[in-house]
Symmetry: C3
Subunit: 421 residues, 3 copies
Amino acid sequence: MRTGPEMHALVERLYPFCRSITGDGVRQTLAVIGEHLPLDRYEVPSGTEVLDWTVPPEWNIRDAFVADSSGRRVIDFRKSNLHVVGYSVPVDRVVRLSELRAHLHTLPEQPSLIPYRTSYYSPTWGFCLAQDVLDTLPDGDYHVKIDSTLADGHLTYAEHVVPGEVGDEVLVSCHLCHPSLANDNLAGIAVAVALAQALAEEKPYYTYRFLFMPGTIGAITWLARNFERIDQVKHGVVLACAGDRGSLTYKRSRRGDADIDRVFAHILKDKPHEIRDFSPYGYDERQFCSPGFNLGVGSLTRTPYAGYPEYHTSADNPSFVDPDSMADTLETLRTAFSVLDRNRRYVNLSPYGEPQLGKRGLYDSLGGRSDAKEAQLAMLWVLSLSDGDHSLLDIAERADLPFGAVAAAADALQAAGLLKG
Amino acid sequence: MRTGPEMHALVERLYPFCRSITGDGVRQTLAVIGEHLPLDRYEVPSGTEVLDWTVPPEWNIRDAFVADSSGRRVIDFRKSNLHVVGYSVPVDRVVRLSELRAHLHTLPEQPSLIPYRTSYYSPTWGFCLAQDVLDTLPDGDYHVKIDSTLADGHLTYAEHVVPGEVGDEVLVSCHLCHPSLANDNLAGIAVAVALAQALAEEKPYYTYRFLFMPGTIGAITWLARNFERIDQVKHGVVLACAGDRGSLTYKRSRRGDADIDRVFAHILKDKPHEIRDFSPYGYDERQFCSPGFNLGVGSLTRTPYAGYPEYHTSADNPSFVDPDSMADTLETLRTAFSVLDRNRRYVNLSPYGEPQLGKRGLYDSLGGRSDAKEAQLAMLWVLSLSDGDHSLLDIAERADLPFGAVAAAADALQAAGLLKG
Amino acid sequence: MRTGPEMHALVERLYPFCRSITGDGVRQTLAVIGEHLPLDRYEVPSGTEVLDWTVPPEWNIRDAFVADSSGRRVIDFRKSNLHVVGYSVPVDRVVRLSELRAHLHTLPEQPSLIPYRTSYYSPTWGFCLAQDVLDTLPDGDYHVKIDSTLADGHLTYAEHVVPGEVGDEVLVSCHLCHPSLANDNLAGIAVAVALAQALAEEKPYYTYRFLFMPGTIGAITWLARNFERIDQVKHGVVLACAGDRGSLTYKRSRRGDADIDRVFAHILKDKPHEIRDFSPYGYDERQFCSPGFNLGVGSLTRTPYAGYPEYHTSADNPSFVDPDSMADTLETLRTAFSVLDRNRRYVNLSPYGEPQLGKRGLYDSLGGRSDAKEAQLAMLWVLSLSDGDHSLLDIAERADLPFGAVAAAADALQAAGLLKG
């Protein structure tokens, strides 16, 4: 899976499933991802203590509707799984519209759209619908039915690992707890799958760990279960809203100057983009960057969290997701990780004076020409700044040279015995 | 005493006294302040060694004039105490105008105003007068009389303490050594009195120590006598020129980033103001910020030191002082101290992942709504940044939230056991 | 030697010599410099290992030409020593023009100029000529002759030391390896000679060491031979391109905030100038600032390295060098070194409160005057900031006062026993 259309096809295939933070919708989604990528799936029992939280009961739903006195479904889960408030408890009774209204959620300012609502930790039930539809409902009795179960079960998440030369890890994390919402976050999932496939072909330096898990409680659970290994996580990206037509936004880690932050600042320079400082709301960077962990994990989106009118509504459907945008997100991540993977510190082994590049075949021997070449400049910069304090990215930025030229210079100098990795 | 008019009435009452760095004018002034505020008065004998200085002789003056040959007082201390150079030695003789001129001070560019001059440490005598008056004096003999005494006595200053929860102190210092000058510094004295009264009603966190003392030698004396206790002084403000119609100016401490500097920068944001870097001239911040002490003491004025044409002239009279401006200065100080008092560092006791706010009643349980509230944002920010390195003010600035919202969040989180003060 | 015209005369006198990185042209040049300045000359044998390099064979040339079949010299070393590629091996044969072309260098975009080319470390031969001349050469056979020797010998360089109060050193380094090029670097040599003469009359604080040596290999050789003494080098300037009509450019040391960098930033403020960050190409700052040495050595030029169209061409002749520009470069260096020499840190010996300046005769005793004088301000600033962390230059910049006023204040305070050097 490489192209925008292929990724878009995966979005469309995953779109109908009724995902939540637990339940069979998650498992269905992982099964499809597993067709592209071998996954390690984990099932964590309800009631498990995870950091400050507890894994909640598992929620599953088969059907739900509100029917009028004639039996006509005026709100029908079968038409859109957004119609039911996530984690609604079962209900089956007849109520007056006036009583029902307290359980109905609309978007009066976007009257044709169904909002997305959940209530994971406070047992209740509810329906979401277009304000336009609500306005047509006459007073009277309605049959309200939610055929759900909320019971001990499991929280489900999965990992896929692309092994690298070293055990130090880069996390790529996607939430998969939203039902029929496409940009948030099926687009992120599809890009992550394509990215994992591409990385596997490249034998990367770092080990890349892809996490497909429900938002918040999933990240909390993963962190709780991987507490002892967290020191291996050197970098990471939370990937979300990866397919809308907006330009890219990178949100810095809480550290603000982590390597991953500097990499994205560097590689985004040449395209329209926005860089935001960390804030403790958004996606699962909230958890990875909580002060106890404080990982170098940023977040890449196109239009960011809550930043577009379709956000958390029925308008976030597959047509809102653009294949070209997904391809651009994928390409950006590949570029970023190629820099991150190559961004190390070296030490100049001949630091007293410039080493004689000419005798090693590294220098144009006819002096006096003013058209010094980029490759030679890059070698001089790498030699000058490789004192253990500067990474190749530092050098590229200081020299205003392409990262690739600097990395190539480091390779040549290392091969000549002038540089130690 | 609360209102601008009440403070202005105090300025008017104190205006006629002939203050200097020592003498009965200071005692008279402290007696009136003592009607509003209990004071501890200190009398330090002349000749006492204080840091690099020596407490000078005490100066008192009863009368002074220059009279023409007809006996008419052409310069009369009874009309304005500015007419006599402060610390003038006694004199009683007849001199030619040509000889007298060496002892006369005018402001040729502000010909109708009497300048303010002193000569504390170099024994001399002199008169100050309007250039316009000088220009009318015919040649001839004049009877010059200054009925002053300059003799062993005392330097007088006073303190008022508003006790706080902790012994750590905030200094509020006002010079009271200027004779009939209203903005410099009777306005500052009046605002300080009102501020002390207001703080006393609030049971503050810090202990607030108000210092009413002569400029330079008073601060030097206080520092010498409190050398051992100086470590308790955590913050401070030198208050001067508190009543003119200009906007507020805050001058940073020598440290430049002391807590008090950051507090004033924060609370002045929303009104016209100027912030200046420290310089080693001005008022007694010179002493508090000398490199051996280097205290976190800034200076609040309206139009700053030497910045208005009425400065150190007879035009700095009560009508130059504006009740509304004094009220604004008072309110600004109260706001600043409310932030300073509340600006502490906390430690998140649940730093691994976000704590579950919902189960503690601290979070709106119906997820998915995009209108996150300020209070919830404030809690997330306080949790994210309470790592011991960030004060609540740091957090408010980083989060771009009102300080009050951040402080309220810290209270709620502390009450829930999630934060340690 | 003081004036622009005198320096220009030296440029003209040195211009005809055929300098290279070794050989008699260097010795001739040093002999002329030695008429102005006593020099210590060093001769380092070919084959000597110096850092990562080896001193090359010595190159000398007596004659060279390309003659047409009629015997007419169409390229003639006697007309310009730029015509021969530096370090050309001997040759004496007849070749076709088509074969000769591989050994000919021109500047097609500056067709009337002869380029300057060398090939120190890769044995070859070649001629440089104007494109206009090349275009006139008919096909046919040409007699090519270079009467050079490339054999064991020596690398020659020289030092001149102006002793100071302390042994800590300031380097002033000029390359002298270019043949008939005037701005690059005969102008730098002439300014250095005049500077050394001027410093000698002033008994400076630092010891100033002037280095006249070939570029790159000369600096490498000097560093290798002075490795043990390098810690004495506290500051330095590489001087080049000192006489063109452009404004001054200072290039920072690799450290970026070395004292010499701050001095030049300070003294250049008041004239047109450019300040550039360090880069590892240019002149011998490359060697002095290599990461193992990382000396506080910047570079002063007028139009910098490779920045003017005449650079490394026959147009860089004495008429390109302006006497007034050389005088300005000299004056700038003298000002910079006067600041550097005087820029020390002091400690306020009376740091608690302001010391009483009046009793030491350091303060205008008649208080209350608003026209505080620069000298008094300077004393207050020096007292305030002399805590061991701030140099006089730091203080001048913080106070926005002339360096001279600050230095004078330090002298007065030290004389009064208030400051320790």
